[in-house]
Symmetry: C2
Subunit: 209 residues, 2 copies
């Protein structure tokens, strides 16, 4: 397994010496689909790098409502975890496994050292920030400028992209939760997308055409 980690980390553009340190210092974490990786309760003083599988990041409302923000794929990290840990503040979001996943957890204590020591690590961290900012802004776009039908379709396309599969195995209820609306609305709009020949539906299954 340890070679796999090397291989995946190599794709992130990090320099070899740093990869050695990371593999030595970090620890492997395996999570099952649906399991929580970071939550507002868990302080989490580790920075996660996704090795395999798929994580998703959600925003949580005090009342328990949620909205989907973005997916984290292999080689990516959760920029918000970084600042969150450096600042020691409570995280205002939740990361959970969309699929069975393996994650490399790096203790935050070494972050500062690596930032000063490795240019490639600085690039990695700042590039993560850039990507997440962009995703949040895209989320704002879709919520502010677009109606629910377009938000839904974007969500389906994002999911297709992240999972690499044309088939999405989720219930209307689950999708409604991620878009923070009601099941009936999603059923209605999916029916509409079906009529427009953009998708096909089965039980627990949506196929994107």
């Amino acid at each position: 397994m340890s070679e796999d980690i090397d291989v995946i980390l190599a794709r992130t553009g990090l320099e070899n010496k740093l990869i050695d340190e990371i593999t030595t210092i970090g620890r492997l974490k395996k999570v099952k689909a649906g399991q929580i990786v970071v939550s507002p309760e868990s302080p989490g003083n580790e920075m996660p790098i996704v090795l395999s599988g798929l994580l998703k990041v959600l925003r949580q409302d005090p009342n328990g409502q949620e909205v989907f923000l973005y997916y984290l794929e292999g080689g990516e990290t959760c920029a918000m975890s970084i600042t969150c840990c450096i600042e020691g503040k409570k995280s205002s979001f939740k990361v959970l496994a969309e699929e069975d996943s393996t994650i490399w957890m790096i203790p935050m204590g070494d972050m500062d050292k690596w930032i000063t020591k490795y240019p490639s690590f600085r690039r990695f961290v700042f590039s993560s920030y850039q990507m997440r900012f962009d995703e949040l802004l895209t989320t704002i776009d879709s919520v502010v400028f677009h109606k629910m039908d377009e938000r839904l379709y974007k969500y389906l396309l994002d999911t297709k992209q992240a999972t690499g599969s044309f088939e999405i195995h989720k219930t209307h209820e689950q999708i409604a939760n991620e878009l923070s609306t009601s099941r009936v609305v999603i059923s209605r709009l999916l029916k509409q997308l079906e009529k427009e020949d953009k998708i096909e539906q089965g039980r627990n299954k949506i196929e994107i055409l």
Copy 2:
């Protein structure tokens, strides 16, 4: 003027040696209210630190629609400009002066050096990221979880907070643009807030009670 800069920068928690460098290397920029500081067109390879006045950050839709994201007050910087410049990507947002403001512009070329050299600069940068992430998430909250009346009231309170004044001098039309809705909707809701004794209105003026 140069001492003023020192004084303001000192409040950011940056160490003295770095402040010396910043004041030597940067340049002063004065902007009038309404003027654009950063736009998708201007590549902008400088990092702005607000010395006095008030800036606001907006998200722009390809069609020209806008949404207000947050204010930047004295001592603060625009985290998105940083990544934007490091990555050399086009910025997908717009910064403009809400009031007449003075800004200290620092060339990006020195960023990397300062990050490695000054712990206080790392703290400053990461803390900026944290703050902006939080603001974007709060924006998402208000757009996803709340209705327009609450969004409007939050906007008024934010503006009161940022300007330090109970009086807001904006037209209903301007507010509608910042919340990306129509003037009629804002007039309707302001009337409602007036009935609830949360505000008082005059021409070009809203007073928060």
